[in-house]
C-alpha cells in the first residue's frame, strides 16, 4: 500500500497541458492581422497632431479570429480617414487593447484606455458578456462606447453614451424571419454555435419567426471545436422542417457544411445567416444553390470596401464583423467632426444626427432613440458557382 506521491512527476503533467492551452489560446488561424498582402495607404502629411480613441477587441482567446477581423476593419477605416482630411485636421489614432475574451480583462483594457490613455470613446467588444460590463464601466466614467460586434438586446440599456453599429438580435432576427416567411417556409430547424452569438441568433430568429406564425421544429446549439457534427445534423433532419437555418464559421463551419451535404440536408433549402463567414471556406459543391443573408457589401461603398479588404489582406472576409468595426470608426470620426471636439458628451449628442445621413460599408447606420442601429439592410444572396451573389 506504500503510496509515495511524486510531485515533480505530477507537475510534469502540468507542463504539456499549460503549453497546449497557451497554444490554443493564441487563436486558430495563422497570420496576425498585421500580415498584409499590400500596405495600407500612407497618412496625409498635412495632418498635424493626433486625436486618439480606443478599442477593446478579443485578440486572444476563443474569439481571436473575430477580434483579428475587427482589428482589420479598424485599420482600414483609420487609413482611409488619415489618407484624406483626418479628423478636425488631425491624425486619427485608434489605440487597440486586448480583451483576452474575458470580461475582467475587457474592463481592465477599458480602464487602461480611459484612466491612462484618457480617450473619450472606446469601440468594443464582440461577446455580449464582455461588451455589456465594459459599456457599463464606460458609462460610469462618462466615456462614449460603440459596440461593433455584440447583439444582445441588453445593450439597449447600458446608458446614453453607449451605441451600437451592429443591429441587435431583435433587428437581425426579424430580418431573417421575414425573409423566411416571404419565401413560404412554414417550419424551420436552426443550427448555431453554443456561444453568446449563436444563442442570441437562435432566440431572436425563433421569436420573430413564431411571431410571423411559423414553427421552429427544433434548434440545435453545437459545441464548438468538435471533429464531427453528424449527431446534431441528423437531429435537425429528423425534425423534418421546410427549411434549415444555419449560422457557423471557422473550422467548425467547414466541417458542418461538408456534413450537411453528405447527410443530404441539401435536399431541402438551407438558409445561411452571415454567409461570408463560412461559404468561402466551404467546398463549392456542398454549398451550391444555398441561400442566405449577409451584411450589405454591394452598395457602391460596400463593394469598394470588399475589394479593398481583399487587396490589403489577400483573402475574403474571414468573418462578417470587420465592416461594423469599420463603420464604428468612421461614424465616430464624423461625430467628432460634427461636434467640433473630442469631448464625450459632445460626441454622444452629435452621433444620432450624424447617423441619419451616414452611409456605412454595412449600409446606412441610423441610430434609434437608444443609440442602437434601427435597421440593418442585409442582402439576400445565393451561392452560384462558389460565389455569393445577391438575389
Amino acid at each position: 500500500m506504500h503510496l509515495r506521491r511524486n510531485r515533480t512527476r505530477a507537475l510534469g503533467l502540468a507542463i504539456p497541458l499549460v503549453l497546449a492551452l497557451s497554444m490554443s489560446a493564441c487563436g486558430s488561424d495563422s497570420d496576425g492581422a498585421s500580415t498584409k498582402k499590400s500596405a495600407l495607404p500612407a497618412a496625409n502629411s498635412s495632418l498635424k497632431g493626433e486625436i486618439k480613441i480606443g478599442a477593446v477587441l478579443p485578440l486572444t482567446g476563443t474569439n481571436a479570429t473575430i477580434g483579428k477581423d475587427q482589428q482589420r476593419g479598424i485599420e482600414l477605416a483609420v487609413a482611409k480617414i488619415n489618407e484624406g482630411d483626418g479628423v478636425l485636421g488631425k491624425k486619427l489614432v485608434v489605440d487597440i487593447e486586448d480583451s483576452q475574451g474575458t470580461a475582467d480583462a475587457a474592463i481592465q483594457a477599458a480602464k487602461k484606455l480611459v484612466s491612462v490613455g484618457k480617450v473619450s470613446a472606446v469601440i468594443g467588444e464582440y461577446s455580449s458578456g464582455n461588451s455589456i460590463p465594459m459599456q457599463q464601466y464606460l458609462q460610469g466614467q462618462g466615456v462614449v462606447g460603440v459596440n461593433p460586434g455584440s447583439s444582445s438586446i441588453d445593450l439597449r440599456s447600458t446608458g446614453e453614451l453607449q451605441f451600437s453599429t451592429i443591429g441587435l438580435d431583435d433587428v437581425a432576427g426579424k430580418f431573417t424571419a421575414d425573409a423566411l416567411t416571404e419565401k413560404g417556409y412554414k417550419s424551420i430547424a436552426i443550427l448555431a454555435p453554443n456561444n453568446s452569438y449563436g444563442t442570441g441568433i437562435v432566440d431572436s430568429v425563433s421569436a420573430a419567426f413564431e411571431a410571423n406564425g411559423g414553427k421552429v421544429t427544433t434548434s440545435g446549439l453545437y459545441t464548438e471545436g468538435q471533429s464531427d457534427y453528424r449527431q446534431e445534423l441528423n437531429r435537425l433532419k429528423d425534425s423534418e422542417p421546410d427549411a434549415y437555418v444555419v449560422t457557423t464559421y471557422g473550422k467548425d463551419g467547414t466541417v458542418i457544411n461538408k456534413e450537411i451535404f453528405e447527410l443530404g440536408l441539401t435536399d431541402k433549402p438551407v438558409f445561411d445567416i452571415y454567409m461570408s463567414q463560412d461559404v468561402p471556406d466551404a467546398d463549392p459543391k456542398s454549398v451550391e444553390g444555398r441561400i442566405g443573408m449577409d451584411v450589405n457589401s454591394t452598395s457602391a461603398d460596400g463593394q469598394a470596401y470588399a475589394d479593398l479588404y481583399e487587396q490589403t489582406y489577400g483573402e475574403n472576409f474571414i468573418s462578417s464583423f470587420n465592416g461594423y468595426a469599420y463603420d464604428a470608426v468612421t461614424l465616430l470620426a464624423e461625430g467628432i467632426e460634427s461636434a467640433g471636439s473630442a469631448d464625450s458628451a459632445a460626441i454622444a449628442a452629435a452621433l444620432p444626427e450624424v447617423s441619419k445621413t451616414y452611409a456605412g460599408v454595412t449600409g446606412p447606420v441610423v441610430l434609434d432613440a437608444d443609440g442602437q442601429r434601427s435597421e440593418q439592410p442585409y442582402v439576400i444572396a445565393e451561392v452560384k458557382n462558389g460565389e455569393i451573389v445577391p438575389q
Binding site: V18, T60, D98, I132, Q136, N194, T199
Partner: protein
Amino acid sequence: MVDYLLGVGILAAVYAINALSLNLQVGVTGLLNFGQVAFVGIGAYSVAILDSHGVHWAVGFAVGGIIAGVAGALVGRLGRTLSSDYWAIATLALAELVRLVALNQDGFTGGAQGLSAVAGLWTNLSGTARDTATFATIAALLVVTYVVARRVRNGQYGRVLVLIRENPDLAASLRHDVVSAKARVMALSAVMASVCGGFYAMYISFIGPSQLLPFATFLVFTMVVVGGLGNTTGAVVGALLITVLYDGTRFVRDWIDISADQAAGIRILVIGVVLLGFLLVRTQGLVPEKVRTAHARR
C-alpha cells in the same frame, strides 16, 4: 492611472485568495486539483443566479459556500479509490462538467450568454471612490483568508496535511484519518474559492461559462508554483506577480512598436515562459516552503 492600478489591485487580491485556496490543496497537502475553477464558478454562479431572482448577495455567498464545501468534501473522498494522477484528471473532468452544465442549462444559468447585471458592490459610490471601496473590501477578505490559511498550515492540522503529502502511510499509522483530513482541506479550500468567485461576479457584474475554462485553473497553478509551492505567503506573492505581469504586458506596446495582436500573443508567451522557467530552474518558487525550527524549550 489610479483607476487602472486599483483595477489591477482588485484583480490581484481576487487571485491571491484563489491562490491561497489552491496552495492549501496542492502545496500543503499534495492534492493536484486541476478543477479549481469549478469551485470559483460555483460561488460566482450562486451569487449571480440568486441575485437574478432578487435574493440578497449574502444568501448567495452562503449558498455558494455550502455547495462548494460539499463538492470539495466529496471530491476529497474520491481520492480514496483513485491514485493521485487519476484523481487529478478526474478533477479536470468534473470542472468541465460544471462548465458544460453552466453552458447548457439556459433557463437556470443563462447558458452561453451567462448572467449579466449582477448586483454590484458599493453602488452608492461611483468612480474612484467606488473602486477604492471595492479594493478595501477585497483586501479585507484577503487578510482574513490569509490568516485562516496560516493558522491551518502552522498548527497540528497543517502538520498532518504535510505528512499526508509526504508519506500517507506514516500518517495513517499515527492515528490520522487520511481520508477525512483530505476531505476537510478540500472543503475549506472550496469555500475560499467560492467566496472569491462570488466577489468576482459582483465586481464584473457578469458571469459566463467562458470564465470556467481550464486555462483559468492553470493560471492559478502558475501563481502558486511561481510564488512558492507550499508557502502561504508565497501564494500571495505569486498571485501579485503574475497578475501584474499578465495585465502589465499591455504596456509593452508603449515601449516597443508592435501591433496589438502581437502584444496580446506576447502576454501568453510571457506566462508560459515564466512557468516553465520556474518548473525547470527553481521548482521551490520565489518564497520556498520552510522547515520550521523547533519551539524553544520551556
